[in-house]
Symmetry: C2
Subunit: 346 residues, 2 copies
């Protein structure tokens, strides 16, 4: 097959950092001219990237730290992340030109993907936006699903608190908790997000944590009866304030620590003793440990969505070049909802 | 029944403190002369106290803090604690003169106990010292038993770390873990305790945490493969250092925080992120939630002891007047083994 060469725009990762991640830690470059084909014998697929996902966990891959659950990025190579792509050429019999796939790809226009076994073929559905396959039906949605049902041990009537509640994960946790018959309060960092939580996402109540001088007493105000479940997306001071407000036998699912910039930031806790006196369980988890539930998750969440029981808010930026700014914005809460980059339309 | 009046020596609790507890927070006094009888219609028992238990949890009752799992002591009243006592007179048909009982009593020579339903009658056994009913077969032993079997989810071959390992709870946790087929390392604060752990209590290894400049690397040295279970009796810096050394899916049973002087001491954590990346479960517990297992515990531990599978080390001080010093000594690790006060011989 004779194909034209294309110059492949890419976002490269430049070098490791332990400071706040900046746009200049990445750069836009033109890759070397490439053929839009999957070489014979490679078993690879050549995809056109449509949607790229900006997720906080990627911050961890920008450190020179090899002992985490994901290896660090290679400086000088394209940023790696989850995406929705369209197959342009395939040397893998399981995929054909025109298929839509979700999985790990690169921050570039076209990617030759060798690990095709980790790609998930998307059954296209007019009722569901393709981009949701990196959000509601992707890793963040699955994180919310297993975190809530498998880690939090929820019961009807439980008092549930969600931090970063309008984010990619939090917004679904809150809605699942409501469907489960729980009382749900969320926190976020702008009044716009608080409005969304209350008026669009169906939380019973919500507050802007930046307006609160004392998080501990704020939580006491929103949960006079105490908290049964805390779904923690931020860590640090908020986790500490929550411990003081937990009920006996409360559960904390630790999903993210976006407040923690470096792996070894010192965090001060005043309320650790509550872990004993209230018999609290604090449980860290990774969605990847529950992958056997992925199929059930897709079925459940797709049904809920189609039945109008849940909604999903995306923050869509357009153009590959917008990705570094959008990614960095995650850590100061600039995104309203799940942050996605639209690289190309189908 | 005509009886002589006795002057009842007591240790009174003086006033609440948020500082380090001191001997002068308690005082020895003679109580008002009392008759050694259980008044008719009182349903009470009058006991002679033989052994009194010094336990770290009692520190919490010396604070003016009403929201914990135990109410605060009353200033000016005798210190309340667990003990082994002999019934002198009984108005409760379930007890008779000469019975030995274990339960909550006062730090004094004689106590009139009204809550007789909370007393446990001791089946005397020549093979088992009476004082063990506030240690190996009492609350600390039960704490070790449920903490290890019910909270830590132990498996044969697990790497187990115990802090305050020669204490009332830790020494039994380590021995149960060895019986379960685990690899067990303990830490303590003197070389004498380290020797006991290795040579008498059967730990695979042990170290003096005071000799270590860097607890995190010390633990890496003792557990090059990482830690599956941490039985935490101290909290604070040691808990933080352990988090960095846990294996994936590790479990931390939080039993005590003797390093934390006040309820709101600030504790610095550098390794909280490990809770996510290693999917660690941190679980606080109170033995009182497992009381349905007490009978099984007594049977199991009594058998183990009689079969010579476990030993128990006590630090016995003599005389009621020695109790304040012994109690305060718990918080600087002066006791070697379970701290008991012998008030009177049978």
């Amino acid at each position: 097959m004779e194909t034209d060469l294309v110059e492949n725009k890419q976002i490269l990762f430049k070098s490791y950092t332990n400071e706040y991640v900046k746009e200049t830690d990445m750069e836009l470059k033109l890759g070397s001219p490439m053929k839009l084909e999957a070489p014979k014998g490679s078993n690879a697929v050549l995809v056109k990237n449509l949607y790229l996902s900006c997720d906080p966990y990627m911050r961890g891959r920008m450190r020179d730290f090899n002992r985490s659950y994901m290896p660090p990025f290679s400086p000088g190579s394209a940023v790696e992340g989850l995406g929705v792509s369209k197959v342009v050429d395939s040397d893998d019999p399981n995929f054909k030109k025109g298929d839509f796939v979700a999985g790990i790809t690169n921050w570039e226009e076209y990617t030759l993907i060798h690990k095709t076994s980790e790609l998930r073929k998307i059954q296209q559905d007019d009722g569901i936006p393709l981009s949701y396959h990196v959000g509601l039906l992707g890793m963040p949605g699955f994180t919310a699903y297993v975190g809530f049902y498998e880690v939090c041990a929820p019961k009807k009537g439980d008092y549930v608190y969600v931090s970063a509640a309008s984010g990619a994960v939090g917004q679904l946790v809150g809605q699942l908790a409501k469907l489960h018959g729980c009382y749900v309060v969320g926190s976020a960092g702008t009044s716009q997000k608080v409005e969304l939580l209350k008026n669009k996402l169906g939380f019973d109540d919500a507050f802007n944590y930046k307006d609160e001088l004392d998080l501990e007493s704020a939580l006491t105000r929103y949960f006079p009866q105490g908290i049964d479940i805390y779904f923690d997306n931020v860590g640090g001071e908020m986790l500490d304030a929550t411990l003081a407000n937990m009920r006996a036998h409360g559960r904390v699912a630790v999903c993210g620590m976006v407040s923690q910039n470096t792996r070894t930031d010192t965090q001060s806790f005043r309320n650790m003793f509550s872990v004993i006196s209230k018999r609290i369980t604090i449980k860290g988890f990774l969605q990847s440990d529950f992958i056997h539930l992925y199929h059930r998750f897709l079925e459940d969440i797709t049904s809920y969505y189609k039945e109008g029981k849940i909604v999903y808010i995306e923050n869509m930026n357009h153009g590959l070049e917008s990705a570094p700014t959008a990614f960095v914005g995650l850590f100061s809460g600039k995104n309203v909802g799940k942050q996605v980059i639209c690289v190309a339309s189908e």
